[in-house]
Symmetry: C2
Subunit: 333 residues, 2 copies
């Protein structure tokens, strides 16, 4: 019997289609492979082909030269621009504003032929420090109300360059999906006087069947009502609404946790394309007792996403208990 | 300068990235072609390979035999089932219910080698009558709170069989996206005492720059704040919240309007995959003064959808004024 399950935060119902249940091998595979062989503006030596860096982790070399582990540069084709005024304007019944904001690229490694999951733990940790550094800098601009931190891995997930990178988009508005999460979490808090994500952590730890891995700082789970097969959340154990305020030990641990989760996905789903997003509180708001930052990873499995794309309704052929079991049990080489 | 625009109904902000503006030829093409040559359960003569039909438009032939223009059959691999009780149950902080509902397939034509856009106007009109007939039948089941009417055209849009067909999913819950539209429209009505879609119709007709085509019964537009390039809405001029209560003349006209819009998309975007969804009011609710049924068509253009898929935030590289101009001006052969 298929089951309808409700996401406890947003109230979204999804169908978990247990009768059409699929094993990982049932998905059409489309492994992400690094082709190489073409000019790459993100490779060392080509630093002049990107806009000047806004942040880099280097070993003493000059800015915008080779000799770095990680670079952050403005997007050469930005969706938003920092210059100008934030004019709001009506057009009859419609509303618009200038596209003020920032759009940056984090080049995660000088090596062209490595994916994020292939990097050593310490290097992945650096990505999370870079996220934090950029948020702390960008939030000084009071016009920017939200900072999106995300990664599109693989062409089918939207990556236009294969050299491993993440993106930052700082917006003068709060994205609708984030606002829905915050509103849902607030309603729960008003009712229960507890953070809903803290409650999810408690229940998932006790149940165990949707747990992928646990450390002192994080738990990785297949959520109860996932929209997509093998959707994975990484939730910090310590309550906190703003990613950038995480404890040092927690950010340090995130390198290992992310690496392990990504490598498990690579093993079970044969190097899938994926989207990786940090869900954090709006930039200019103070600490929230009701919201809890976390990471969502969504493998892009071919031919699974068509249905909900148009309808706005989700049918997930893989129960999260099955996905978690595969990911929990898979060994890493 | 890129622009942030707000969808007036749902309040969703999207970036219209005017500086990365693309012409139709800039999108990677992936034309939908009918391959044929394999066994097809939807072809005439194979009626026994589907579950028995629940509706068919025939010229006197026996049920479940050849000699039909259109057949509606239960989905052989349904995401939901009609049998059983609608049990709601908690699992700690989570909520679930049995997957009660209906999942049907409308086989739109006996011809395997024709897409919906290739069918004569009169035959497309029959699809809309079939939608109506099925809604009127399914809404008798009081457990079913929403009926989704949609079409996935092409493999990249989620179609698993190429023989032209649409789908109906009847649900015991209202999908979140529909509920958001209804809530947004209600807020507008409380403020203005007018239907927001009626106001959109008035403004778009007066402006003209986002209009694709107009008839006495419908207007087809590129909406002001579209999530996707060439997203197209078909809105009936007459106010009405429930699709199934549309006037006869209106449903008759929808055959021509849909055919023309789809053929224009085929010409401009080279036979793209697309999703087609009817947005209508929840099944068991009475007529709503604040909601207005309409159709949304979203062409699935390769490599454009990656960004928002994970982030929940939309960047649209094609201003709707440009999309509408291409679609308005393209000639049909």
């Amino acid at each position: 019997m298929p089951e309808l399950r409700k996401d406890p935060v947003t109230g979204r119902w999804v169908i978990i289609a247990t009768e059409r249940s699929r094993r990982p091998s049932d998905f059409l595979r489309n492994p992400v492979t690094i082709q190489g062989g073409r000019f790459c503006p993100f490779c060392p030596g080509n630093e002049q082909k990107t806009p000047p860096e806004v942040l880099a982790y280097r070993n003493g070399s000059e800015p915008n030269s080779a000799g770095w582990n990680l670079r952050v540069v403005p997007n050469k084709f930005p969706a938003l621009r920092v210059e100008g005024e934030l004019d709001r304007e009506g057009e009859g019944i419609y509303d618009k504003m200038n596209g003020i904001g920032a759009h940056e690229v984090i080049i995660e490694s000088p090596e062209h032929d490595r994916t994020l999951a292939d990097l050593p733990e310490k290097r992945i940790e650096e990505l999370f420090w870079a996220f934090r550094d950029r948020v702390l800098d960008l939030k000084k601009d009071r016009r920017l109300r939200y900072i999106l931190l995300f990664k599109n891995h693989g062409e089918t997930a939207g990556a236009s360059l294969e050299h491993t990178h993440s993106q930052i988009i700082a917006l003068p508005v709060v994205p609708k999906r984030v606002q829905e999460e915050i509103d849902g979490a607030r309603r729960y808090f008003e009712f229960k006087e507890r953070c809903i994500y803290c409650d999810i952590l408690r229940q998932e730890t006790a149940d165990g069947e949707r747990v992928i891995l646990e450390t002192d700082h994080f738990i990785a789970i297949s959520p109860y009502a996932p929209r997509f097969p093998f959707e994975t959340w990484i939730i910090p154990r310590a309550h906190g609404s703003h990613y950038e305020n995480s404890a040092t030990a927690s950010i340090q641990n995130l390198g290992w946790v992310t690496r392990t989760v990504l490598r498990k996905l690579d093993r079970v789903l044969e190097r899938p394309a994926y989207n990786f997003v940090i869900h954090t509180a709006p930039t200019q708001e103070g600490e929230m007792t009701h919201y809890h930052w976390h990471i969502e990873i969504i493998p892009k499995l071919t031919k699974v996403a068509g249905f909900e794309w148009g309808t706005g309704f989700y049918i997930n052929p893989t129960p999260p208990e099955e996905a978690a079991k595969f990911l929990r049990e898979v060994g890493l080489v």
